[in-house]
């Protein structure tokens, strides 16, 4: 086991913990940060795992991918936070409360004959 293995495993752990938060936490901020952390987990794996074959030669390609990924993650997180603010401003709640399944335009309408 090398330090690189540890980094990669940490990446897996971060990814799955963050995924867990996204799935189980209701608050939007948790979800958005969770998604951001999932990215961080992948970046760790991406930097550590391919480097294990030859730790002495740095592979610039994963580094480039991670740099690109970080910027993409910034953009995605910024939009997700902005949209979360919009949700809060329109529904007054930081949860996805307006259940779109139940929000039929007029629930009192008679059942259409089928």
């Amino acid at each position: 086991m090398t330090p690189l293995d540890l980094y990669a495993w940490a990446g897996v752990a971060v990814f799955l913990l963050a995924l867990h938060a996204v799935v189980t936490r209701a608050h939007l901020i948790w979800k958005v940060l969770g998604i951001n952390l999932m990215g961080t987990g992948v970046f760790l794996i991406l930097l550590a795992a391919p480097a294990r074959r030859d730790p002495l030669v740095a592979d610039p390609l994963p580094q480039g991918m991670v740099l690109t990924g970080i910027v993409v993650a910034v953009a995605a997180t910024a939009l997700a936070l902005g949209m979360a603010l919009r949700v809060m401003s329109r529904t007054g709640s930081p949860f996805l409360t307006v259940d779109p399944e139940s929000a039929d335009p007029d629930p009192d309408a008679p059942e259409p004959p089928s």
């Binding site: 993409v72 902005g82 919009r86």
Partner: protein, 294 residues
């Protein structure tokens, strides 16, 4: 029911922007609190966890055994071709030459996020200190005087350095954005708004520069973004400069031009008197709100 031109709504927002309270903290704080009561039942939390643990173990075991057998390896290929890229830093070579297309799209992601945020709501443009107060705060003024020029200078240096050392447009852009945010929050600089044409031109400049260069070299080299011999370095440096400025403006935009709470036009947006998803009325006073609507 109010239409887009409802005078009352306009007055309310007008008043809000004058007093400089785009975000009403009293409104926001409860929204950020989370006692976990809305989360799913604990059993769900545990079950998802139990599902993810074996996945983690499998991934960890798999990663331990994984190694590519590719030959020649990509690092070797990059090292071999780096002299043709016009830069000496391999990561910059990957970002701006070998995989310049990815970088182009990466800036496009930023632009997409910026446009998307603009489309969410009328931006909250006024926040932070009341205008002109920075002068009266000696510590803030000193920090600004020191930090902003330093950040600017460093950004220029980082852009130039990118070709040979780990640095480049994005690092420089982030620094510039930091300075911009500082100036905006201190109300020294008017926050850039979506409506301002220069903002849009600069923000689009990164992608535009990339695409224009890519197309311009196409007739000479036969491929998009394939720099002609001897042109790689100046073109990359020019692109880096445009990117740095564009990234900076976009990041500042993403920071300041976000939906405000409570919504300035909440009366017309949340009531949704008609079935029109854009909140447009059918005709002036044409139909009364559906009494059955929630």
């Amino acid at each position: 029911m109010s239409g887009p031109t409802d005078p009352q709504a306009n007055n309310a927002t007008g008043a809000a922007s004058e007093t400089g309270t785009g975000v009403d903290h009293a409104h926001v704080r409860p929204l950020l609190e989370d006692d976990g009561s809305r989360d799913g039942p604990a059993i769900l939390t545990w079950m998802v966890g139990l599902l993810l643990v074996p996945a983690g173990v499998l991934l960890a075991l798999g990663l331990r055994g994984a190694a590519d057998s590719r030959d020649p390896r990509i690092p070797d290929l990059i090292a071999e071709h780096l002299p043709e890229t016009g830069v000496s830093n391999p990561v910059t070579g990957v970002l701006l030459n070998f995989r310049g297309y990815d970088t182009l799209l990466e800036v496009a992601v930023l632009v997409a996020a910026m446009v998307a945020v603009w489309s969410l709501d009328r931006g909250q443009r006024v926040f932070g200190l009341p205008a002109g107060r920075a002068r009266d705060e000696p510590v803030l003024a000193a920090v600004l005087r020191l930090a902003v020029p330093t950040a600017f200078l460093t950004a220029v240096y980082l852009t130039w350095l990118g070709s040979s050392e780990p640095a480049g447009a994005f690092q420089a852009g982030a620094l510039l954005a930091g300075a911009g945010v500082l100036l905006t929050v201190a109300r020294v600089m008017r926050p850039p708004t979506a409506a301002a044409l220069p903002v849009r031109i600069i923000a689009a400049g990164g992608v535009a520069g990339f695409v224009v260069v890519g197309i311009a070299v196409l007739p000479f080299t036969g491929a998009f973004l394939a720099y002609p011999e001897g042109w790689a370095y100046p073109l990359i440096l020019g692109l880096e400069a445009a990117l740095a400025v564009a990234v900076a403006v976009i990041l500042v935009e993403l920071f300041v031009d976000v939906p405000s709470i409570p919504a300035p036009d909440s009366t017309l947006d949340t009531v949704d008197p008609t079935g029109d998803p854009l909140g447009r009325a059918l005709a002036p006073d044409a139909t009364p709100p559906d009494p059955g609507a929630p």
